[in-house]
């Protein structure tokens, strides 16, 4: 998956194949400073190359010209290149190509930014722009990839449902070629689509589990069925998966977790989990009197949406940012958080900041309840937040700091010795968690390995 950490800190737009071996041989002889110099040279050369090549032939002439103009431009403001590229829409161009132009210009610009390079966490790979569609990418997938990479769709559940829905469209449009069977060929057809999605944004555990299940269903589909029937079977299976593992699971979790909220409780939650939102709304609808503290953090500030939804429903809410957590934690009755995924050792991988909330709560003897469907279960063991994580992309999306200054004052960019590190996830150790609520029951964190047992029975 992620490239193994090497000495030269190239962005994962990948150095050409020949380079690493040549570079590494002589690197052992060079001093550290010489090595650093070599890296800078290589990076600059590559960035220039990337800018010079128009990324795909689909670009209209105008857009290509803008790009090459940008390639020469020494200084860049964050918002401008993408604005300039997307402003004049050459007629007849697909919208996707337009956005790709924008992304490409972002790419060369971030490549330039990466000339400095992150010295830690670079093994995650920096977020790549959505590159040219290699081969046949179905428009539904292309659209989805874009939505992922621009963070229009976020959240493990949302991404999984969107992926499966898009795959339904793809499967519907798919035609089995001659001399081939659906069960064997469909998967090879879907593989590049999946890679395209992964290139847009690394896959979530939920997407991985769902796709694995889909592959299983495809390979198990009956050869003798006529094509549309086989497809219908697949659709039913996909719908069942969504319904049982997500929708109905959420309903069970709503009820179970809702019972843990008593009248007069103060519930604290972090960022925005779709499951926790449902739990709180359901508990409120069933007449329980409680208030909520929404803790949020930059740069994504997802908690604002949760705050809007809860306030609209009539729940009394308090909103604060993560650094202020210490002031309110002693009044909290229970902490409810969601999860991106949960691992065999009971560790919970969730939005960055969740670990802080859990540790603070543990310190003050406040129970921490994680609401997590079983399909988020990942069989590997994760011990820390560094081995596997995802970095938020640089650029317009997250550089809105400080809020009250105009764009030209985005001082965090364009500094030669300043790097922005923005991991999206972190790992909460099982010792800080009191209970995990799943649809098969409430499980203590050190017994998470009993989930496969329970699932085996289902």
């Amino acid at each position: 998956m992620a490239p193994a950490p090497t000495l030269d800190v190239h962005p994962v737009n990948g150095p050409p194949a020949g380079e690493p071996s040549a570079g590494q041989k002589s690197q052992k002889q060079m001093t550290k400073a010489e090595r650093r110099e070599l890296q800078e040279k290589q990076r600059a050369a590559k960035a220039a190359k990337a800018a010079a090549n128009a990324p795909n032939g689909k670009l209209g002439g105008k857009a290509a010209k803008e790009l090459s103009a940008l390639a020469g431009a020494p200084s860049k403001k964050t918002g401008r290149p993408s604005d300039a590229a997307s402003k004049p829409p050459p007629p007849g161009l697909v919208k996707a190509a337009q956005a790709k132009a924008g992304q490409a210009s972002l790419a060369d610009q971030s490549a330039r930014n990466q000339a400095r390079g992150l010295l830690i966490f670079s093994h995650f790979g920096l977020p790549k722009p959505v590159s040219a569609a290699k081969g046949d990418i179905h428009p539904a997938i292309a659209r989805l990839a874009l939505q992922f990479s621009t963070f229009k769709i976020t959240g493990a559940n949302a991404r999984c449902i969107a992926t499966l829905t898009a795959f339904k469209t793809v499967i519907q449009d798919y035609v089995t070629p001659q001399n081939n069977t659906l069960s064997r060929h469909l998967m090879t057809y879907l593989s590049p689509q999946i890679s395209h999605l992964v290139a847009a944004r690394p896959m979530s555990i939920t997407m991985g589990n769902a796709i694995r299940q889909l592959k299983l269903d495809i390979s198990g589909s009956d050869i003798d069925l006529p094509e549309q029937d086989a497809k219908d079977v697949l659709f039913r299976k996909i719908d069942t998966y969504i319904r049982e593992r997500i929708i109905i699971a959420d309903q069970v979790i709503q009820e179970t977790a809702g019972n843990k909220i008593k009248d007069g409780d103060i519930v604290l939650t972090y960022a925005r989990s779709s499951v926790v939102e449902k739990v709180l709304l359901e508990a409120h609808a069933s007449g329980r009197e409680f208030s909520v503290i929404v803790v949020d953090s930059r740069p994504m500030l997802e908690g604002k949406r949760l705050l809007a939804v809860l306030s609209e429903a009539g729940i009394q809410c308090t909103y604060l940012l993560l650094p202020a957590l210490g002031s309110v934690i002693s009044e909290v009755s229970v902490v409810l958080v969601g999860a991106h995924s949960i691992h065999t050792n009971g560790a919970v991988y969730s939005r960055a900041g969740t670990a802080l909330v859990a540790m603070m709560a543990k310190r003050h003897s406040v129970p921490v309840v994680v609401c997590c469907e079983t399909y988020k279960f990942s069989e590997n063991i994760q011990l820390d937040s560094f081995t596997k994580n995802e970095l938020a992309p640089l650029g317009d999306l997250f550089s809105s700091f400080p809020n009250n200054k105009p764009r030209e004052y985005l001082t965090l960019e364009n500094q030669p010795h300043l790097e922005i590190l923005n991991p999206l996830y972190d790992l909460t150790p099982p010792s800080c968690i009191t209970a995990v609520v799943t649809e098969v029951g409430v499980i203590p964190p050190n017994a998470i390995s009993s989930i496969p047992v329970a699932l085996g029975r289902l």
């Binding site: 229970v334 129970p367 499980i443 203590p444 390995s449 009993s450």
Partner: protein, 345 residues
């Protein structure tokens, strides 16, 4: 949704009480037997109605019982068993009889569980062990008496106020010839360094792997952890419960009256958590109870003050070393796995 009306001639609580008469039978077993009886008496025609009737019966028992937790465990176990029991739907009357027999068989077999546990615990009791136990538990007594046959042991038991059940344990052990001393509840920390390990019974073992037992067990577990002494819990498998308390105050036995403060005298009793207290009683000198030395300077709590105290508490799983049960010796995590495996199907 109308429940099967069987409360006319069949009072499930009375039946339950009847079963409880037997000293050996604990509340969950009595509940199972009462429910088995309820099956036969019920006039349900389908499985659904039967389960409905059983649920109603269980509710009734829970409502009228002062301490419903262990009872609840037994009820849930039996109802889950009934629901999962393979049945062909032709002869329902026979099915009901079959279920009732299974229930009775289970209750009878369950009486051997304590012996199994005693045998398992024997391996952990070395010669000249000094054991600390809490209050009164039949399974612990059985284990200790069993160990006494082949090993030398001595036992400290806590007084366990307010009910003073520790003294009952003291009498039983002394009668059997085991050297036994009663310690004050507050002297547990004092005595812990002398002790080799702690052995307690249970009201219920919960899904987190934690323990619900007479109040004072949590204290003992914390002190044992601080002193690095093993803390073992003995529990029959019908006491495994799907409850998952997040804290002491999340227990079903916790009510707003417990640990509430009284309204001050002279001020209007506004919306107070404690409906039963009007003015605080001045502590009256009462004759010291429970057979201890009757010094005239000794005082005791009155009923009202005792009512504000909990009867059971929750011990966290990380404080418990092992749970001895008839299904084996489990770690607290293992309890959770067993429960999930048993009820998930």
């Amino acid at each position: 949704m109308s429940a099967q009306t069987q409360s006319g001639d069949f009072d499930i609580y009375a039946t339950f009480q009847q079963f409880l008469q037997d000293e050996e039978i604990s509340p969950p077993l009595a509940a199972i037997s009462a429910l088995a009886e309820a099956i036969v008496r019920s006039n349900a025609g389908t499985m659904f109605e039967l389960v409905q009737a059983l649920n109603d019966g269980a509710e009734e028992l829970k409502r009228r019982s002062p301490n419903p937790i262990s009872l609840n465990a037994g009820c849930e176990l039996f109802i889950a068993f009934v629901t999962l029991f393979p049945h062909e739907s032709d002869n329902f009357a026979e099915l009901k009889k079959e279920l009732e027999q299974q229930g009775r068989k289970y209750a009878a077999e369950a009486l051997t569980f304590r012996d199994k546990i005693a045998e398992l615990a024997l391996g952990f009791i070395k010669d000249d062990s000094v054991i600390l136990t809490h209050s009164h538990s039949r399974v612990v007594l059985k284990a200790l008496l069993h160990a006494h046959k082949t090993k030398r042991i001595s036992v400290y038991v806590t007084e366990s106020r307010p009910r003073g059940l520790g003294l009952k344990t003291y009498e039983t052990l002394t009668a059997a010839g085991i050297p036994c001393t009663v310690v004050l509840d507050s002297a547990v920390a004092y005595v812990m360094d002398r002790v080799d390990f702690v052995l307690v019974g249970s009201e219920a073992v919960v899904e987190s792997g934690g323990l619900i037992n007479y109040v004072g067990s949590n204290q003992m577990a914390i002190i044992a952890k601080a002193a690095n002494k093993p803390f073992y819990a003995l529990a029959e498998s019908y006491k495994f419960h799907r409850l998952f308390p997040l804290s002491q105050y999340d227990l079903p036995t916790h009510n707003p009256n417990i640990l509430s403060f009284p309204t001050p005298i002279g001020r209007s009793a506004g919306t107070d958590d404690a409906p039963s207290t009007s003015t605080p009683d001045i502590i009256t000198k009462q004759p010291a109870r429970l057979g201890t030395s009757s010094s005239s300077t000794e005082r005791a709590m009155n009923q009202e003050q005792i009512a504000k105290n909990p009867g059971v508490d929750y011990t966290r799983p990380d404080l418990i070393s092992l749970v001895f049960s008839d299904v084996g010796i489990l770690t607290p995590e293992g309890v959770s796995q067993y429960l999930v495996g048993m009820f998930a199907g």
